[in-house]
C-alpha cells in the first residue's frame, strides 16, 4: 500500500493497559501491526495508559487538590515510566521527557485547589500521551515506519444539551461520521500511526476526557471517522461469551454478533467491551473484532451488521447484574391520575438517580436503579422516599439481581424457554422486563439468586433455546480455551477394554442385560476413602444399586450401608453376612411405624425426618439415640426431581420446627446424637458440601448431645464427556478444613451413585430402524422399563454402538425403547455408526438408579443383572 493510493483502507487496533505494560506484549503489538500493514492496510494503533497509571493520576489529582505532596506522586509516575523505558530495552525515549516535565508542572498548578476540570483533563491525558510516545519508540525499534499522532487532532468533543460542566470536560462524546478528508490526510502520513485512547479536543481548544470505557470508544470513533475495514479491540480474553466465564466455565465464545446483540450483552453484564463503543461503529457500519492479546491465534468475537434477517431465534447470552435496587411505587391518587409518572420521574431526576428498567401497571410502577457508591453509602434513598411519599406508597426492594437473556426473537422463544421460565417460577420475581426490540428478557430476583446463572445457562442449552449447534454463532467453551480440564479419567471407560467380553456375554443371553464391573466399584470406593479422610464413616446409599455382589464389594471396602426401607435392610443382611449393627443406617421417609421398630430392634442407627414419629409414637423412641434430618431450606441437584432440600421438598424437618423436634425428643426420652441434611443428587461443586458441612456443624452447636454430622451424598458423576469430574481431592481438603474448626463432630457421608454409576452399562440389541420425517429412529429391545432416568429426569447417558465401535459415527439417531410411551427415549440426536437390526447398543454410566428403578411396564421384563 502506498501513501498516494486513491482509496486508503484502514484498520484500527486498540490495546488496553495490561497489553502495553510489558515488553513481550509490545512485540505482539508490533507483529500484529506489521501483519496488517502487509495486508495492504494502513494501521492506527490506539493505546491506553500503562496499567495502574490512570488510577495513579486520579490519586495525584486528589493529593494536589487536598494540598498534599503531589510532586512525590508525579515523581513516582515518572519513575515508573523511566524504569519501563529500560525494561523495554530502549536507549531512551525522545518525547517522554516533555510529558514528564508537563506532569511536574501540572502537579504544582494553582488550578488544583479548585479541582478545575480542564486541569484534571490535562493531568489524566498524560497517561495515554506517555504510553503512546513510548509505543512509537518500541514500534520504530521493531522496524515499522511509525508516526506518533495526537488523537486530539481528529477527535473533538461534542457540545450536548443539559451536560454538566463535569461531563462536558471529563465524560465527553465525539462526532464520528465518516470523514473523507481525514482518510486522505492520514494517508499522507506514515502507514502505521500510534495514538491515544481516552482523550479528545475540547471545543475551547483544551483537552477533554472520554471517561469510562474511553479507550475502546476512541478506537471506535477513529474506525468510524476513517470508515475502517474493521476495529480490533485487543484485550485479555478472546471475546464475548455466552455467560460470564468466571461463573460459567462452560460458557461459549460468541463468534459472531450483530451490533444490537453485542450492545445488549455489553450493557447487561459483560465487562469485556464498554457498551458505548458500539454506537459509533454501528452508525458507520464498521465491524468490530474482539481478540485476546495473549492468545492471538484464538478467533475472537466479530461484531457487525445483522446478516440474516430470517435467522432462527435463539438466546446468545445470559448475564446477571447484582446490586440492583428496585423502587416500587403504588399510586394513592385517582384512577388514571394525570401526570403521575411525570411527577415520579421528576423526583428521581432531582436526586440525580437514573432509572434503568421499568415495569408498570394501572396502580403501580416499579423501576430499577443501578448500583453506585452514592446510592449505598449516602441517605439518597431515604431522601428520595421522603419526596415520593406524598404522591405514592413507596417500597424499596433490594438487593436484587437482574438476570438477562439476550438474543433475537425472544418472544417467539417463549415455549422453548419453558424450563427456564419454570426455574424463575420457583423464585420471587420482582420485575420482568422486555423491550420492543425483542432482544432481551430480564428477570429481577433477590440478589442471592444471581447464583442461578450457571444452572440457567445449562437449561438454555438443554432446552434448545441456546442453539450451540449454530456453529457460526457459538465457538468453543471458555473452559476448553483457557482451562482445559483433565480428561474425566486418565483411561477410557472399562467397557472399551472389555468390549469383546461384553459382546460374547450378550451373545449367549436372551434379552437385554445390565452388566457391572466390580473392579470399578472397588476403585471408586478406594478413591473415596483415600480422598475423603476427613469423613469418619461412609454409608453406601444402597438405593442406587442393590445387587448383592455390589453390596458385598462395597462393604468389603469398609463402607456401612444406608437403607431407606426395611426391605433394604433385609437385602443388605442377606447379601452381607455378619453385617455389624453400627454399619447400618436407616434413613426412611414417610415409612410406617413398624419399620422404625424393626430397625431399632436390628440395632441400626435410625434417622427421623419429621415430627410425626416423635409426637405420635414416642414409645418407639424411648431410650433410643436418633439422627435428625434437617431441611436446610434449599436444595441442589441435576434435576428438580432429585432436589431434596427446600420448601418444595418432602424431606427433612423445617428449621423452624427444630425446637419442637428437640422438645418432642426429650419428652419421648430419646437423644438426638446426630444431625443430617441431604441436598440432592449430582452435585459437582465442592463448595456446596463444604457449606453444608459448616452449616450443620454450626447448627449442631445448639444441640449439646449431637456429636456426629451426616452431610448425605449426592456426589456428582460425569455423564457426558465434557462434564467435569468432581474434584475429590478438593472436596477432601474442604471437608478437612471445616472439620478443623469443628473437631468435636464425627463426619458421615452417604455416597451412592458415585460408587456404582460408572461401573454399570446397559446392553440391548437393536430391534428395528425407522426413517421418518428426516430422522432415524433406532429401536432397542428395552427402554424406560429398564432405564427410566432419561424419561424421568431428562438424564443424558452416553450411548454407543458396541457392535461397530470402530466404524465412523455418521448417523444421527433417536435411540428409543419398545414401550408405548412417547417419552420412551434413551437418547436424542446421537451420532452413531449406522445401527442395524441385531447390533448391540451400550448405554453407559447405568450402574446407578438403573436396575433398581426398573419396571415391568407393558409387561416387558427389564434387563437382568450380570456381574463380571
Amino acid at each position: 500500500m502506498s501513501a498516494d493510493s486513491v482509496d486508503p483502507r484502514y484498520v484500527v487496533l486498540k490495546f488496553g493497559g495490561t497489553s502495553v505494560s510489558s515488553k513481550s506484549r509490545w512485540q505482539t503489538i508490533a507483529r500484529l501491526a506489521a501483519e496488517r500493514y502487509g495486508q495492504d492496510l494502513r494501521v492506527v494503533v490506539v493505546v491506553s495508559a500503562l496499567s495502574g497509571i490512570t488510577n495513579a493520576l486520579e490519586q495525584l489529582i486528589e493529593t494536589a487538590a487536598s494540598g498534599g505532596d503531589a510532586q512525590a506522586a508525579a515523581a513516582a509516575i515518572a519513575d515508573r515510566h523511566l524504569r519501563f523505558v529500560v525494561g523495554l530495552g530502549l536507549a531512551g525515549a525522545p518525547g517522554l521527557g516533555e510529558w514528564l516535565a508537563r506532569l511536574a508542572a501540572l502537579a504544582a498548578d494553582p488550578r488544583a485547589a479548585t479541582r478545575d476540570y480542564a486541569w484534571q483533563a490535562e493531568v489524566l491525558a498524560l497517561g495515554e500521551l506517555m504510553s503512546s510516545t513510548l509505543g512509537a519508540r518500541v514500534l520504530e525499534a521493531a522496524g515499522l515506519a511509525v508516526e506518533w499522532l495526537d488523537a486530539r487532532e481528529w477527535l473533538t468533543a461534542a457540545r450536548l444539551p443539559n451536560q454538566s460542566p463535569w461531563a462536558a470536560r471529563l465524560s465527553v462524546s465525539c462526532e464520528a461520521a465518516p470523514n473523507p478528508a481525514m482518510r486522505q490526510a492520514l494517508a499522507r502520513r506514515s502507514p502505521v500511526l500510534i495514538t491515544q485512547g481516552f482523550i479528545a479536543r475540547h471545543p475551547d481548544g483544551g483537552t477533554a476526557i472520554l471517561g469510562r470505557g474511553g479507550s475502546d470508544t476512541s478506537a471506535a470513533y477513529l474506525g468510524a471517522l476513517l470508515a475502517a475495514e474493521r476495529v480490533e479491540i485487543w484485550t485479555d480474553v478472546a471475546g464475548m461469551f455466552s455467560a460470564n466465564p468466571r461463573v460459567v466455565p462452560q460458557s461459549r465464545l460468541l463468534r459472531r454478533l450483530d451490533y444490537e446483540e453485542a450492545q445488549e450483552i455489553a450493557t447487561t453484564g459483560a465487562k469485556v467491551l464498554h457498551p458505548r463503543c458500539l454506537t459509533p461503529v454501528r452508525e458507520a457500519g464498521v465491524p468490530l473484532l474482539v481478540k485476546d492479546t495473549n492468545r492471538p491465534e484464538l478467533e475472537g468475537t466479530m461484531i457487525g451488521p445483522r446478516e440474516r434477517e430470517n435467522e432462527q431465534p435463539g438466546v446468545k447470552a445470559i448475564s446477571a447484574r447484582t446490586g440492583i435496587t428496585l423502587v416500587s411505587m403504588e399510586s394513592i391518587g385517582m384512577y388514571q391520575q394525570v401526570g403521575f409518572l411525570a411527577d415520579v420521574f421528576a423526583i428521581f431526576k432531582r436526586h440525580g438517580l437514573s432509572i434503568d428498567l421499568i415495569g408498570s401497571a394501572e396502580t403501580n410502577v416499579t423501576v430499577s436503579l443501578d448500583p453506585t457508591e452514592n446510592l449505598v453509602n449516602s441517605n439518597v434513598i431515604e431522601a428520595l422516599c421522603r419526596d415520593l411519599e406524598p404522591v405514592c406508597r413507596v417500597k424499596v426492594i433490594a438487593p436484587c439481581a437482574a438476570i438477562t437473556m439476550v438474543g433475537r426473537g425472544m418472544r417467539s422463544l417463549l415455549a422453548t424457554l419453558s424450563p427456564v421460565l419454570a426455574e424463575f417460577g420457583r423464585e420471587t420475581v420482582h420485575l420482568i422486563s422486555q423491550s420492543s426490540n425483542d432482544l432481551n428478557l430480564t428477570f429481577v430476583v433477590a440478589e442471592a439468586r444471581a447464583d442461578l446463572v450457571p444452572a440457567l445457562h445449562a437449561l438454555l442449552v438443554r432446552a434448545g433455546a441456546m442453539r450451540l449447534d449454530d456453529e457460526a454463532s457459538f465457538g468453543p467453551a471458555w473452559s476448553e480455551l483457557y482451562a482445559p480440564a483433565a480428561p474425566r479419567a486418565a483411561t477410557s471407560p472399562w467397557w472399551i477394554a472389555r468390549r469383546d467380553e461384553l459382546l460374547a456375554l450378550i451373545a449367549h443371553e436372551d434379552g437385554p442385560r445390565y452388566v457391572y464391573d466390580l473392579a470399578t466399584v472397588r476403585a471408586r470406593a478406594a478413591a473415596l476413602r483415600t480422598a475423603l479422610s476427613a469423613v469418619d464413616r461412609c454409608y453406601y446409599a444402597m438405593k442406587a444399586n442393590a445387587h448383592p455382589a455390589v453390596l458385598r464389594a462395597i462393604a468389603d471396602s469398609g463402607f456401612g450401608i444406608e437403607c431407606v426401607s426395611w426391605a433394604e435392610i433385609e437385602a443388605a443382611d442377606a447379601a452381607i453376612p455378619g453385617l455389624a449393627a453400627e454399619q447400618l443406617l436407616f434413613t426412611p421417609n414417610f415409612a410406617p411405624r413398624r419399620e422404625y421398630e424393626r430397625a431399632f430392634a436390628r440395632g441400626a442407627r435410625v434417622t427421623v425426618d419429621a415430627l410425626h414419629p416423635l409426637a405420635e409414637w414416642p414409645a418407639v423412641f424411648a431410650g433410643r439415640e436418633i439422627v435428625l434430618r434437617v431441611d436446610p431450606g434449599h436444595g441442589s441437584g441435576h434435576h428438580e426431581k432429585v432436589i431434596t432440600g427446600g420448601d418444595e421438598s418432602k424431606f427433612g424437618v423445617a428449621l423452624s420446627d427444630l425446637p419442637e423436634a428437640r422438645r418432642l425428643a426429650r419428652a419421648a426420652g430419646c437423644r438426638i446424637v446426630a444431625l443430617h441434611a441431604h441436598l440432592g443428587s449430582g452435585i459437582g461443586e465442592v463448595g456446596t458440601f463444604r457449606d453444608l458441612h459448616a452449616w450443620l456443624a454450626a447448627l449442631a452447636e445448639d444441640f449439646p448431645e449431637v456429636t456426629r454430622i451426616n452431610i448425605g451424598g449426592g456426589l456428582g458423576v460425569p455423564y457426558r464427556e465434557d462434564d467435569a469430574a468432581l474434584d475429590l481431592a478438593a472436596l477432601g481438603a474442604a471437608l478437612a478444613e471445616v472439620k478443623r474448626h469443628y473437631p468435636q463432630y464425627r463426619l458421615w457421608m452417604e455416597p451412592g451413585r458415585y460408587l456404582v454409576a460408572e461401573a454399570g452399562v446397559l446392553l440391548a440389541r437393536v430391534t428395528q430402524v425407522k426413517r421418518k420425517a428426516g430422522r432415524t429412529w433406532v429401536g432397542l429391545e428395552t427402554g424406560m422399563n429398564s432405564l427410566i432416568r432419561p424419561s424421568l429426569y431428562e438424564a443424558w447417558h452416553e450411548i454407543c454402538n458396541l457392535s461397530r465401535l470402530d466404524e465412523p459415527a455418521d448417523t444421527v439417531c433417536e435411540v428409543v425403547g419398545p414401550i408405548c410411551e412417547s417419552g420412551d427415549v434413551l437418547g436424542e440426536h446421537r451420532r452413531l455408526p449406522a445401527p442395524r437390526e441385531g447390533d448391540v447398543i451400550l448405554v453407559a454410566t447405568a450402574g446407578a438408579y438403573g436396575a433398581v428403578m426398573a419396571s415391568r411396564y407393558n409387561l416387558r421384563e427389564p434387563a437382568a443383572e450380570v456381574v463380571l
Binding site: 434513598i381 422516599c385 478443623r740
Partner: protein, 448 residues
C-alpha cells in the same frame, strides 16, 4: 478403648499444668477419678521470651487459666468433688471459681435438668497468697476480637484515642483473621486445642452444653497480656450482657454470665490483687446499650464486607454475605434491626445480602426479640425494649415503612405496645457501673 463414664466419677482433678517456654505452649491437664488424662493445649505463637521478674505473676495467671478452663471438662461429668493437685487456690480465687462453675454453667444445668447449687466447691488454701506486684507493663491494650461489631467499636475507639492496641484472638477463625487484617492493627493469636477425649466422652453420652467461654478467654488473655507486655485487657461486653436471659425454678439464668458486670468486676479485681497490680481488665462498652454500640459501629464502613455477628456461620469464611450471616438466628435478626435506624438502608442490605425485615418467614424471630407473644431468645442479643425502639424508629421512615415486617409492626404491634416503647434517644445514654479508666472517659460521651 472404652472410656469410663465421667458422669459416674467421684472427683474432678486438676492434675497439672506444664509451661514450655521454648514453644510458648501450655498443657492444661485434667482427669476424672483415675481415668485418662484430658489435655488441653494453648500456644502463644510469636510471644517474646518472658523476663524472669514476671515469671511468678505469669505462673499465677497460668494457674487461674488452668482452673477456669477446666469448666469445659468438669461439665462432662459434674462429679461431687474437685481436687487441685498443684497449687490450691486462695479463698478469694476459690470463691470466684465456684461462681464461674455455677453461674457460668447455669444454662447448661438448666438444659440438662441438673442442680449445681452447693455441688461446686473448690478446695481453698487457708493462707491468702502474696499480694500481686506491679510488673511495670507497657502502656498497651490487648483487645480480644470476636469478628462481630462490638470489638470493632472498641478497636476503633482506642485507635482514635491514640492508644497502642494489640488485636487478639483465641482460635483459628478465618472470619476474625479477616476482621483483624482489615483493622490493620498489630495482632496476636492464641491457638487452643481441646482434648479429643472430651469429644469421645460426648459421643459416649457425657453431659454437654453451654460453657462460660468469655471467662476462659479472659483468663487466657490475661496470661497473654503478661507475655506480650500489655497492661490492659479490654473486652467489648455491653450493659445488657448482665441481664438474666431466663428465670428457671426461681433462679436467674444468664446465657452470657461471664460477659456480665458481676464477672468483670470480680475477675478484674482478682487479677489486680493476685496476678499483677498494674494489669487492668475491663470492658470499654460496659455502660452502653446494644443500640448505643450499634450506632457507634455504623461509622465504620470499612468492616462491612468482613464482619459478622452471626453465631452460626462464623467459623468458616465465605465471600458472600450469605456465608457470614445465616439470616435466621437471633443474632442476625437483632443486629439487622439494631443497625437499621443508623445506617443507610442499602448499605445494611448489602451487608446482609438480603432484607430480613421484608421476609415474612422471619416474623417469629423478630417477635422473640421484642418479646411479642414469645420469650427473648437464649442468645447474646439486646433487651426487648431496644428492639422495640429500633422497630418504632424505622416504622416512621419512608424507605422502611412498607417492608413486610415493619408494616406489620406499625399496624398490628405498635398500637398495642403503647407507651412501653421509649424513643431511641432514651436508650443511647451510657449508664451503670464500669471499670473504664478515667483517661478514656471521653469515649462515653463522644457522640452526645
Amino acid at each position: 478403648m472404652s472410656l469410663p463414664d465421667p458422669r459416674a466419677a467421684r472427683v474432678f482433678r486438676f492434675v497439672r499444668r506444664d509451661w514450655c517456654a521454648d514453644e510458648a505452649r501450655v498443657d492444661l491437664v485434667y482427669a476424672f477419678d483415675d481415668g485418662p488424662e484430658l489435655v488441653e493445649t494453648l500456644r502463644f505463637s510469636g510471644a517474646p521470651r518472658l523476663p524472669a521478674e514476671r515469671e511468678s505473676a505469669f505462673a499465677v495467671a497460668l494457674d487461674l487459666m488452668h482452673w477456669i478452663a477446666g469448666v469445659s471438662y468438669y461439665k462432662a461429668g459434674v462429679p461431687p468433688a474437685i481436687a487441685c493437685e498443684g497449687r490450691v487456690p486462695d479463698t478469694e480465687t476459690a470463691e470466684l471459681l465456684d461462681l464461674v462453675y455455677t453461674e457460668g454453667l447455669a444454662e447448661f444445668a438448666h438444659q440438662n435438668g441438673l442442680d449445681l447449687a452447693g455441688r461446686v466447691r473448690f478446695p481453698r488454701a487457708e493462707a491468702a497468697g502474696p499480694p500481686a506486684l506491679a510488673l511495670g507493663l507497657a502502656r498497651r491494650a490487648l483487645v480480644p476480637v470476636g469478628g462481630g461489631k462490638d470489638s470493632i467499636v472498641t478497636l476503633e475507639a482506642l485507635r482514635v484515642s491514640g492508644e497502642p492496641v494489640l488485636a487478639a484472638w483465641v482460635g483459628a477463625s478465618p472470619l476474625i483473621a479477616a476482621v483483624v487484617a482489615r483493622s490493620g492493627l498489630p495482632a496476636l493469636r492464641v491457638e487452643r486445642t481441646l482434648s479429643p477425649l472430651l469429644f469421645e466422652m460426648n459421643r459416649a453420652g457425657a453431659w454437654n452444653g453451654h460453657i462460660p467461654v468469655t471467662a476462659i478467654n479472659s483468663a487466657i488473655l490475661v496470661a497473654a497480656a503478661i507475655l506480650h507486655d500489655a497492661d490492659e485487657v479490654v473486652f467489648s461486653n455491653e450493659r445488657s450482657a448482665s441481664a438474666p436471659t431466663l428465670e428457671a425454678d426461681g433462679r436467674a439464668v444468664n446465657h452470657q454470665w461471664s460477659k456480665g458486670w458481676d464477672f468483670e468486676r470480680r475477675f478484674g479485681e482478682l487479677v489486680e490483687r493476685h496476678v499483677a497490680a498494674d494489669l487492668r481488665y475491663y470492658s470499654l462498652l460496659r455502660p452502653l446499650s446494644e443500640l448505643a454500640v450499634t450506632r457507634r459501629f455504623a461509622r465504620h464502613e470499612r468492616y462491612d464486607d468482613v464482619f459478622s455477628s452471626c453465631n452460626r456461620n462464623f467459623r468458616i469464611l465465605g465471600e458472600r454475605p450469605g456465608s457470614r450471616w445465616c439470616g435466621q438466628c437471633p443474632k442476625c435478626h437483632f443486629v439487622f434491626l439494631a443497625l437499621a435506624p443508623f445506617v443507610p438502608k442499602l448499605r445494611l442490605l448489602a451487608i446482609f445480602g438480603r432484607n430480613l425485615l421484608d421476609d415474612p418467614a422471619q416474623a417469629a424471630g423478630f417477635d422473640a426479640l421484642i418479646e411479642w407473644n414469645a420469650a427473648k431468645p437464649f442468645e447474646c442479643v439486646g433487651e426487648a425494649v431496644e428492639s422495640r425502639a429500633a422497630f418504632a424508629a424505622i416504622a416512621t421512615r419512608p424507605e422502611w415503612r412498607e417492608d413486610e415486617l415493619v408494616a406489620r409492626f406499625r399496624t398490628q404491634i405498635l398500637p398495642r405496645l403503647g407507651a412501653s416503647v421509649p424513643p431511641l434517644d432514651a436508650l443511647l445514654a451510657p449508664a451503670g457501673p464500669h471499670r473504664i479508666p478515667a483517661r478514656l472517659a471521653g469515649f462515653l460521651d463522644a457522640d452526645r
